[in-house]
């Protein structure tokens, strides 16, 4: 069992997550058959979160380029999402590519910059709704992973998104 110290810094936590995800990738290999090609449940959740963050960042970039929203706030919230993207990427198993190769016979996910659904700049209200939906999904995702450090990271990201929802509501 992992023993932890009195407080936990982000750096220490991310080290735990990386170690945990790597261990899960090794021990889970060949034992989990409902995720594609040896992907562990933790990695599956991580990749789902990474895709979600990439798409959210594209939406923020569109909103910022459109210029109709509160640019200072949107810029600040984008920075948080970039920090989340970095933390989630760091949590991938050692040697894993941020974007995995597409499964045979599967078209794979559409890159966010080529997705027609992301072509239009969202309103501030739409961004608020996306943040609320993201925060609402985090409790189940935190419960779904085996690595406790990863669960903490997901929980903390959800709290930041709840904060974004509040700040966008105040505009």
């Amino acid at each position: 069992m992992v023993r932890v110290a009195a407080g936990v810094s982000r750096r220490a936590l991310l080290g735990m997550v990386v170690a945990g995800a790597s261990a899960a990738a090794v021990t889970g290999c060949g034992t989990v058959d409902w995720y594609p090609s040896g992907t562990t449940p933790d990695e599956h959740v991580l990749r789902s979160l990474l895709r979600e963050k990439e798409r959210l960042l594209v939406r923020y970039e569109k909103a910022l380029a459109d210029g109709s929203g509160p640019s200072d706030l949107l810029d600040r919230l984008s920075e948080d999402h970039r920090a989340h993207l970095d933390a989630l990427t760091d949590a991938l198993p050692e040697g894993a590519e941020p974007t995995p190769p597409a499964e045979e016979g599967s078209p794979g996910p559409v890159p966010p910059e080529e997705d027609p659904d992301l072509a239009e700049a969202p309103s501030t209200a739409a961004l608020r709704a996306m943040e609320a939906a993201a925060a609402g999904a985090r409790p189940d995702q935190a419960a779904a992973v085996t690595d406790r450090g990863l669960a903490q990271l997901i929980g903390s990201i959800g709290a930041c998104e709840a904060g974004h929802t509040y700040l966008l509501d105040e505009v």
């Binding site: 932890v4 982000r10 936590l13 189940d140 935190a142 406790r148 997901i154 929980g155 930041c160």
Partner: protein
């Protein structure tokens, strides 16, 4: 986190930590509700004392469900030395940040029900801190890197 609650996955230990934070929060908000210098802060303080009492009851029940013993309530908890608006706001933000850190430990529990509860409480504490003028961190609940 205290010595007896060093093991992150131990449900009783992380619940005890969260309960201690809620005891302090109820005490703090009752103080704000009775002593803040303006009616708005007193009113918000009393309302939030009620919310934290509900959370305290929920965590206490979760503790008893797992055959744990809720930690003892201390006779007093830290209070601000000044009662002006800024001092009260800073004090309350600190109280909520303590609740957020305790909730973060719940999100690491092996017990997935507690993880879900911890994730929710972490979100609530983060938003309440913002309502009192706190700053949003990209990873709430963690200490600064």
């Amino acid at each position: 986190m205290s010595e007896e609650s060093e093991t992150a996955g131990d449900a009783v230990s992380v619940l005890a930590e969260a309960l201690r934070a809620e005891y302090a929060a109820v005490y703090a908000y009752e103080f704000v509700g009775g002593s803040a210098g303006d009616e708005d802060r007193r009113s918000r303080g009393l309302a939030l004392a009620g919310e934290h009492k509900s959370t305290r009851a929920e965590l206490r029940e979760a503790m008893l469900d797992r055959d744990g013993s809720p930690p003892a309530v201390r006779p007093t908890y830290p209070l601000p030395s000044d009662k002006d608006g800024r001092s009260i706001d800073d004090f309350v933000v600190g109280v909520e940040n303590t609740c957020a850190r305790a909730a973060l430990w719940l999100t690491a529990a092996d017990d997935t029900d507690l993880r879900t509860t911890g994730t929710r409480l972490l979100q609530e504490a983060t938003v309440r801190a913002l309502e009192w003028g706190g700053e949003l961190d990209s990873l709430p609940g963690f200490e600064g890197s």
